[in-house]
Structure formats: structure tokens, C-alpha cells
């Protein structure tokens, strides 16, 4: 199987996958940190289970959306020498493409007045 390189070919992403990619957007993180970040940012409404997360990381790694980061934080900060993951340029493109896709849907729903436009932008 030739690796997929076009961002669109990965769409749509599952919500856990999108959350994971977004969580990595501002810096390398290890698995537990990704879980915490997603829970925190969604007010605990999205809670990934650990097994699910690592299965997802595995798939994202195989697809080239993330890679294991070889830059480690300070040894003192490095928690039990966990593996850290980094968003690849492809991963970044895929996440952006998914968000564009979602935005287009939201826009369509607004035009049809399914949801109100936000008062202040």
C-alpha cells in the first residue's frame, strides 16, 4: 500500500483523532498529557480512554500524521521517560483540512438558520 499523502484522503477524522491532533498543535506531548489536555479543553465532555488513545496514536503514527519526538524536555521534567509525540506537517494539514470541512458544514447550517450566528465575533 502506498502511503497516503493528500490531506483530504484522511477525511473525515473521528472526533478523538481530531482532538488528539489539535492537542499536539501547540507542542510535543506524551500520551497522558494528551488525555489531560483534551479533557481540560472540553470541560471533561470528551474523555478518551488510555487504550483507545494509544491505538489512535499508533494509527496516526503509521499514517505519518504524528511522529515520536526525539527532543526531550529537561531530564528533570521528563516524566518517567515517556514517549513524546509531535504533529508532522502532514498531520497539521490534515487537522486543518478537517476543521475547514467542519466549518463549511457549520456555515451551511447557519445559512439555513439551523443555528444562530454568534453575536460577537
Amino acid at each position: 500500500m502506498a502511503p497516503r499523502t493528500r490531506a483530504e484522503s484522511f477525511l473525515p477524522l473521528t472526533p478523538p483523532m481530531l482532538h488528539t491532533l489539535v492537542a499536539l498543535a501547540d507542542g510535543d506531548k506524551h500520551g497522558y498529557a494528551i488525555l489531560k489536555e483534551i479533557a481540560r479543553r472540553t470541560d471533561e465532555s470528551v474523555r478518551l480512554s488510555a487504550g483507545t488513545l494509544y491505538a489512535l496514536i499508533r494509527r496516526a503514527e503509521a499514517d505519518g500524521l504524528i511522529i515520536e519526538s526525539d527532543e526531550r524536555p529537561d531530564i528533570s521534567l521528563d516524566d518517567e521517560r515517556r514517549r513524546y509525540y509531535r504533529l508532522t506537517p502532514l498531520g497539521r494539514k490534515v487537522a486543518a483540512a478537517e476543521i475547514d470541512r467542519l466549518e463549511a458544514i457549520v456555515e451551511m447550517a447557519r445559512e439555513k438558520k439551523l443555528v444562530p450566528r454568534p453575536r460577537s465575533v
Binding site: 500520551g31 497522558y32 487504550g51 488513545l53 494509544y54 491505538a55 499508533r58
Partner: protein, 889 residues
């Protein structure tokens, strides 16, 4: 965290849970996953709420038990995809491996289907597991009398109910067309005990047919109703002629119900009470009163919660009470109480059939092992030529465990493909076997349904998985041990790893040993068949033709039957070229025969004396001349022996010696089946029920005095049997067009299809087939091995030839290598075969399980096969051009 700290309970559970994930997953993320779980756990504990902890545990459990299987499946999918792609790239290899496995798996599945039918498939009735067969294990008659049946049925503490049934054959006439069917006379509780519902109309009612002159009724089987009456619902209430009498159809049994005999096709059921009203058989008069008339096959239903042993104990006590109350008739009764599944095809034969079927399935399992070893060898040969690819994958990060798993997946994929390929062939073979079994006789409707049901297919899957694992295991182990780095470094040349080489050699040796075992088993059965054919049967079957007729099927009475027998014999004796012709009730060694308890007069005074069973046949006076049976003393029957004159009997030497040792039995009397008969002659001994029997007493009574319900005409003639058979049918039709004539065939064919040789023929055929397949596969394995060996040593051979080695030396070396495997395999095989042969002992006739001739012949055959298999690559080795071989480097 200090390293010495003992892991907490939660940590140990997390560790165990992580182990549920596939190897690669664990290797990549196992530690992180564990750490994350631990972190989540301590967080929840810090929160201090029981709810948070519970939620975490539930969440973890759900997560692991859904994610881990999914990850495994993903790996399997990936492996299977890879296996399929790599097989597609090597179609010749793939096809030969799949076909090889299909042979083994198919053969074994076929045997499993047979085992299923004769031992496992439950009857299509309510709670079949509760059914037990109750029979008499002493003497030749395994059945029970009606009165005894009712007494056993009264053991209500252990049995909730019990039924009796008697299979019979009769002609059915509907709208002028006539055919013979097998039907059963059944006790009135038959359907209710079995829990069978009518598909149409109603079934038999309690006491139905008991009153004198009650109109005869019949229940049709669903299949018969469908095939003969096209499933016409207006059949209920209509009349059909069964055995010449009008019967009213009262209903059709349910679609799934196929009777209580796994090997018979029963087309109709008649209340047993009508046994007397519709067939004027003199001998059936006392069916419901006479305890010596053991007529019924019996099945009981265990009361819920009662074990087989408890039921057996209670019934045996009842049997001993019967023996006390009726010493005359019940002294020899020894009750056999076994599950219904162990009483197929009947309680007497059940044990032998089970042993034979199990042995054959065991031999088929050896064939599966050979095919798996063969495919393992193919896989390893491929692994060597793929070693660089494997090494490359390893270098790219595939772990050894993963590579081993890949080989196992390839083995499994091949085996599963093999079983898919095998299924249609097995189905064809089972249909052929079913026809083969039904064609052995038309006296009864044999019908063994060997179809592949869920049970067989599940077993087939298990066989395929085992075969796949065996095939993939050796290459997988070799892959685990292989020094992958060395392979990459070795450059262009693909070298066989030493472990792999040894394992391949071992596989070839195992194949040779296993195929020797199969061939020895086949050889023993073939020798056994040959011995059986040379056993003195006490008559001369060559040059004899038999044809069976059944005038009673038309409802003929005593006189009408005799009239037919006389007219028929007279016409046949008049056919040009017929030397002798005579009636015999049942030709010897057939599937059906009769036996009677016989007592000399006066009865021996010993209180423990029991009446022995003797084979019984009614004959017309010319029989012994026709069959060339020697008269030892007295006379044959003649025109003096008629209905109304003194009842007479001719006995064989065994019975004479037993009753009147050292004296002449002529003029003495004996009681047979309740009749007092006078001995007028003694004839030489013969075989009556099967060729392996120990000398058995036999009595012959004149047809003129007994008028049997059916009889076969035995004809001696030097004419070709095909011509004669046609003429025999014609003249019998002239004698009486109404009487059914069937199984017209040479006596030798009757013996081949009957108890005489049929079992030996089947065993010899199947084991011979398995053995030849095994030997063929082993020779292919050896060939592949030697050919590969030669191709690996082209350079070395080239150097040796350049240094002056002669072609003969090279050839000798290569042959010696093949010979070494053959010798080791044969030596191992002889030990294994001797062990297997011990199990066969009870199934062999006149040949020792260690018969030296068989072992020598088979070993010689395998040596020859191995030599031929090595010869081709050996010849190729001698044609190596040193220059070409060296330049290639």
C-alpha cells in the same frame, strides 16, 4: 518510585491488562499505557471519591476489552493481507500447498463426517441425549420380546418411557405402480415418546390396531410423502396397498424426523399391534405373548436426573428377575444398556463400528500430519529463498515474534484455503459413499446420511487450524532463531540456515515415517481381505448366481408362497445351462440372516445349561448340491419332507458334535424356536454370519415345511452371469409377475457386499488410499529437499568436478543423502507402525499386526520411492558444468 517497591494490586492488574494487547502494540506503547493507567489511578485516588475510582475501573475494563481485540484483529488483517499478497506472487507454490493441505484436510473431514453419522449426530427427536438402547448382548439375537419390553418399560423410576420397533420391507402399490420400501412396526407410544409431531393429519394413538379387525393404518415419513406423493395434502384418509393389504394413511411425520435408525431410510410407520392383522406370518402369531420371540429393537428414555448407570442397574435387576421367572427362555439374557449413539448401526455392531471408524479417522489424522509437514517444508524452502526479504523486513523494524506470527498466518491462510477447496470434493465423496452404502443390498433401504452439518464443519475448521499451525510452526521457529544479520551480509547468495536445514530434514523424515505407518495399515488390511477371501466358507461361491424374492410382501399366505417357490424353481431349473437351482431363505454371509435358540431332546440335566444360538436357514432339497456342501451323514431333504409330515432338520458338524459328541445324531430330535424337529442329516461346517466367526452351529429346515416369507434362489451354472440374470428375472416373472425380484447377482458379488467381505473391502480401500497419498506426498517432500540441497551446492559440486570427481561419485553422494533420510524415516516408521498396528488387531482376519511380509514389502516400496525421488536431482547434479557453476559466483 523506588525500584524495590512491590507493585500494588492496581499496578499488577494494569500490567496484566496491557498483556492482552498484541505483541507489537505492547512493544511500542505498553509501558506508556501502563504509566498512563497508573497516573489516572492515582489521580482518581487523590480525588478520594469512590465514584471516581469505580468509574475509572469500569472505563479501563471497557476500554481494554474493546481495544485489545480490535488491535489483534488489525494485526491479523494485516498479516492475512500480506500472506495473500505474497502467495499471489508465488502462484505455483500457493496452489501446490493449498492442494496438498486440501487432500489431508478433506480426507480427515470425510472420516469425521462418517464418525459423526455413526457415533455423534443426535437423532432428530426431543431430548435425544436421554435415549438409551436396551438390548440383549448374549447370543445372536439382540432384540427383546414385547412382554419383556413392557416389563422394562415398567421400571418407571429410571425410565420415563420406552418404545419398540421392528424394521420390515414391503411393497407399496399406489395407482397401479409398485415399489419396495422399508417401514417400521412401532409400539403405539413411539411418536409420543420421541416427541415427534405430525406434519399432516395425526400420528399413532394409544392401543391403535389392538382390537381385532381394526382397519389398518399407516403414517408416512415426510420424505416419502414428498417423493412418492409429491407432498399432496389430500393424502390423509387415502388408501395405499402395503404388502398387498389396504392401509389408510392417517398422517405424515414431521419434516425433521428421520426415524430412530441412523443407517436406514424408513418410509412408513405402522402400529405394531397390526403385525398379525396384516401379515399372515405363522411365526408372528405370538409376538405379543411369547417371551421367546425377541422381535423388537428397544429404546428407552431416561427420566430427567437419572444417570445411565442407575438405569442400567435397575434394568439389569429386572432382567435377572425375568431370568428367574422364565429360565427356559431367559437364561441367556444379559442386558446391554448403552446410549443410543453407541448402538449404531445396531447394538451388536456398535462397538466394532466405533473402533473401526475411530481407527480410520486416526489414520486420516496421520495423513493430515503428512500434508502439514509437506507444506511446512515448502514454506521453509520458500523462507530460505525469501531470506533476504525477511531480513530486510527485520531490519526495517519487524520483530522476530512478528515474523514468526507471519509464518503462522501463512500456514493458517493456506490451510483455510485448502479446506475451502476440499469442501466440494468431500461433499462429492460423501454422496458417493452414501450411494455405495445404499447399493450394498436392496433387501433393506440402507441410507447413511453423511452430509456435512455444523458439527462436521466446525471440526473441519479445527482440523484446518491445527494443520495450519503445524505447517507454519516449523518455519516460524526457524525464523525466530535465524541470525538475520548474517543473512543480509551474505550478499547475493541465499544460504540456508542450519536450524532451518535440520528442521526440514526432520520434516522429511517424519513424512517418510508417517507414510510408512499408513502404508503398513493399508497393507495389513489388504492382506486381511486376501486372507478373508481364502477362508473356507464351506461352500463354493464361484459359478453361483443368487436372486432374492419376497412373495410375502404381496401378502401371500403359506400355500401361495410355496406354490411360487415350486413354480419358480421348476422354471429356473429348465433354463439351458443351469446345473442346479435351489431356494435358501437367506444366502450365507449376507447382511440379513436368522438365528434360533436350539435345545437337544432330552434337554441336558445341568441346571446351568443354556440353549445355544444356531444360524438358521430354510432350504429346498437341492441346496447343498447347488452350493456344493458335503453331506457327512444321513440324507438331504426330499419329497418326503412336506407340510404335515414329520418336521425335519439338517444340522452341521459343529452342532452335531456339541449335542451328541461321538454319537450319530440321525433320528434324534431338537427344539428350534419352539418347534420339535428330527435330525435327518449332517453337513460339513461353513461360515454363516461373518468370515471371522468361530465355528457356529447351523440348522437347515425344508422350505416345504416352513414356507419362509422371502427366499433367494441359488443357481449353479457355467453361463455368464449377465445373460443368466436377465433370464432368471424373466422366468420368475412368468412364474408370478406380482412377486418382487431383487439383488440378482453372482454369489461372489453378494459376498463382496455382505458381511463376508464388505468391511474388509472398505478398510482396505480407505487405508490403501490414505497410504498411497501419504507416500506420494512424502516422495514430493523428499524430492524437493534433495533438489534444493543440490541447487545449494552447485558451486561445491562444480569445484569437485573441476578437481576430477567422477559423475558416479557425485551421484552416489546425492543418493546417499536421500537414502539416509529414507532409512531413518523407515526405521522410525516401523516402530510407529507397529504401535498403530496393535490397535488394528481386532479388525484384522488371519494376519498378524506384525506381519513381516507387509512390513518388508512396504519398507522396500518406500526405499524405491525415495530412491526415485532422489534420482532426478542426483542426475541433475552430475550434469553440472564446473565452469558455469564457478562463473556464477
Amino acid at each position: 518510585m523506588s525500584p524495590a517497591r512491590r507493585p500494588s494490586f492496581a499496578e499488577r492488574v494494569f500490567h496484566a491488562l496491557v498483556r492482552l494487547f498484541p505483541f507489537d502494540f505492547r512493544a511500542d506503547h505498553g509501558r506508556d499505557l501502563e504509566q498512563t493507567l497508573r497516573a489516572q489511578h492515582s489521580e482518581a485516588r487523590r480525588a478520594g471519591s469512590m465514584r471516581a475510582l469505580t468509574r475509572l475501573w469500569l472505563d479501563v475494563a471497557r476500554d481494554v476489552f474493546t481495544t485489545a481485540p480490535r488491535e489483534h484483529l488489525a494485526v491479523v488483517k494485516q498479516d492475512v493481507g500480506y500472506a495473500l499478497r505474497s502467495l499471489r506472487r508465488a502462484p505455483v507454490f500457493a496452489i501446490s500447498a493449498v492442494l496438498t493441505l486440501a487432500i489431508g484436510i478433506g480426507a480427515m473431514t470425510g472420516m469425521v463426517a462418517v464418525l459423526n453419522t455413526v457415533m455423534f449426530r443426535p437423532l432428530a427427536v426431543d431430548r435425544p441425549d436421554q435415549l438409551i438402547s436396551i438390548s440383549n448382548q448374549n447370543g445372536m439375537n439382540a432384540y427383546v420380546s414385547y412382554k419383556d419390553l413392557q416389563d422394562y418399560r415398567a421400571e418407571t423410576a429410571v425410565l420415563s418411557d420406552a418404545i419398540g420397533y421392528v424394521p420390515r420391507v414391503a411393497t407399496v402399490s399406489v395407482n397401479g405402480s409398485t415399489e419396495r420400501i422399508t417401514f417400521e412396526l412401532v409400539t403405539d407410544n413411539y411418536f409420543s415418546m420421541l416427541g415427534v409431531q405430525p406434519a399432516l393429519g395425526r400420528l399413532i394413538r394409544p392401543n391403535e390396531g389392538r382390537a381385532a379387525r381394526e382397519a389398518p393404518v399407516v403414517v408416512l415419513s415426510y420424505d416419502y410423502w414428498l417423493s412418492r406423493f409429491g407432498g399432496d395434502p389430500s393424502i390423509v384418509g387415502r388408501s395405499v396397498r402395503l404388502g398387498g393389504q389396504p392401509f389408510t394413511v392417517i398422517g405424515v411425520s414431521s419434516r425433521s424426523f428421520r426415524g430412530t435408525e441412523s443407517l436406514l431410510r424408513v418410509s412408513a410407520y405402522v402400529p405394531a399391534w397390526m403385525i398379525e392383522t396384516f401379515m399372515s406370518w405363522a411365526s408372528q402369531q405370538g409376538t405379543f405373548e411369547d417371551r421367546s420371540l425377541r422381535t423388537f429393537s428397544m429404546l428407552g428414555r431416561l427420566r430427567p436426573g437419572v444417570s445411565l448407570e442407575q438405569a442400567r442397574a435397575a434394568l439389569v435387576v429386572r432382567a435377572s428377575l425375568l431370568a428367574r421367572d422364565y429360565p427356559e427362555t431367559h437364561k441367556d439374557v444379559r442386558l446391554r444398556v448403552i446410549p443410543e449413539t453407541q448402538a449404531r448401526p445396531n447394538p451388536q455392531l456398535g462397538a466394532v463400528v466405533r473402533v473401526a471408524a475411530t481407527v480410520l479417522a486416526g489414520l486420516a489424522a496421520l495423513l493430515v500430519l503428512i500434508t502439514s509437514a509437506n507444506v511446512a517444508n515448502l514454506l521453509m524452502a520458500r523462507a530460505v529463498s525469501r531470506s533476504r526479504e525477511v531480513a530486510l523486513r527485520a531490519a526495517l523494524g519487524a520483530r522476530r515474534g512478528r515474523l514468526a506470527r507471519q509464518f503462522l498466518t501463512e500456514g493458517l491462510t493456506l490451510a483455510l484455503l485448502g479446506s475451502v477447496v476440499a469442501i466440494p470434493f468431500v461433499m462429492l465423496a460423501m454422496t458417493a459413499l452414501r450411494n455405495f452404502v445404499s447399493n450394498t443390498t436392496s433387501a433393506v433401504a440402507f441410507d447413511a446420511d453423511f452430509s456435512l452439518d455444523v458439527r462436521v464443519l466446525t471440526t473441519m475448521l479445527a482440523i484446518a487450524i491445527s494443520a495450519g499451525v503445524v505447517a507454519g510452526l516449523a518455519p516460524a521457529l526457524a525464523a525466530c532463531r535465524a541470525d538475520l544479520g548474517a543473512r543480509l551480509k551474505s550478499g547475493a547468495r541465499e544460504t540456508e540456515h542450519r536450524t532451518g536445514g535440520r528442521m526440514r530434514s526432520a520434516l522429511v523424515v517424519v513424512q517418510v515415517a508417517l507414510s510408512l505407518t499408513l502404508l503398513v495399515s493399508g497393507g495389513l488390511f489388504i492382506r486381511s481381505l486376501d486372507r478373508a477371501r481364502h477362508i473356507d466358507l464351506g461352500f463354493e461361491p464361484e459359478g453361483m448366481l443368487v436372486a432374492t424374492t419376497a412373495p410375502a410382501l404381496q401378502g401371500y399366505d403359506f400355500e401361495k408362497r410355496l406354490a411360487f417357490y415350486r413354480a419358480g424353481r421348476e422354471r429356473i431349473a429348465g433354463i439351458p445351462g443351469v446345473e442346479h437351482a435351489a431356494w435358501i431363505q437367506f444366502p450365507p454371509l449376507g447382511i440379513i440372516g436368522e438365528a434360533a435358540a436350539v435345545t437337544p431332546e432330552p434337554r441336558p440335566s445341568d441346571p446351568d445349561w443354556r440353549a445355544p444360538m444356531a444360524s438358521e436357514a430354510d432350504i429346498s432339497p437341492e441346496y447343498f448340491e447347488t452350493a456344493r456342501v458335503r453331506l457327512v451323514e444321513g440324507r438331504f431333504f426330499d419329497e418326503r419332507d412336506r407340510a404335515g409330515s414329520t418336521p425335519v432338520v439338517i444340522i452341521n458338524q459343529t452342532l452335531a458334535g456339541r449335542f451328541w459328541p461321538g454319537q450319530s445324531p440321525i433320528g434324534r430330535a431338537l427344539i428350534a424356536d419352539g418347534d420339535r424337529v428330527e435330525v435327518v442329516g449332517v453337513v460339513q461346517n461353513g461360515k454363516y454370519q461373518n468370515v471371522a466367526e468361530s465355528p457356529l452351529g447351523a440348522i437347515f429346515r425344508p422350505v416345504e415345511q416352513t414356507s419362509p416369507v422371502s427366499a433367494s434362489i441359488a443357481i449353479r451354472s457355467s453361463r455368464s452371469s449377465v445373460d443368466l440374470a436377465r433370464e432368471v428375472r424373466q422366468v420368475l416373472a412368468l412364474a408370478d409377475p406380482e412377486v418382487a425380484v431383487y439383488d440378482v447377482r453372482p454369489m461372489t458379488e453378494h459376498l463382496d457386499n455382505g458381511n463376508a467381505f464388505f468391511p474388509f473391502r472398505v478398510a482396505a480401500f480407505l487405508t490403501g488410499l490414505f497410504g498411497s497419498m501419504g507416500a506420494l506426498l512424502a516422495s514430493i517432500g523428499l524430492y524437493g529437499m534433495i533438489a534444493y540441497h543440490v541447487s545449494q551446492r552447485i558451486r561445491e559440486i562444480g569445484v569437485r568436478m573441476a578437481l576430477g570427481a567422477r559423475a558416479g561419485d557425485i551421484m552416489r553422494d546425492v543418493l546417499a543423502r536421500g537414502g539416509r533420510f529414507a532409512v531413518i524415516g523407515i526405521a522410525l516408521g516401523i516402530v510407529l507402525a507397529a504401535g498403530v498396528a496393535r490397535l488394528l488387531e481386532g479388525l484384522l482376519v488371519g494376519v498378524s499386526p506384525f506381519d513381516p511380509l507387509t512390513y518388508t514389502a512396504v519398507a522396500g516400496l518406500l526405499v524405491a520411492i525415495c530412491l526415485i525421488a532422489s534420482l532426478v536431482p542426483a542426475r541433475r547434479a552430475t550434469t553440472v558444468d564446473p565452469l558455469v557453476a564457478l562463473r556464477a559466483e
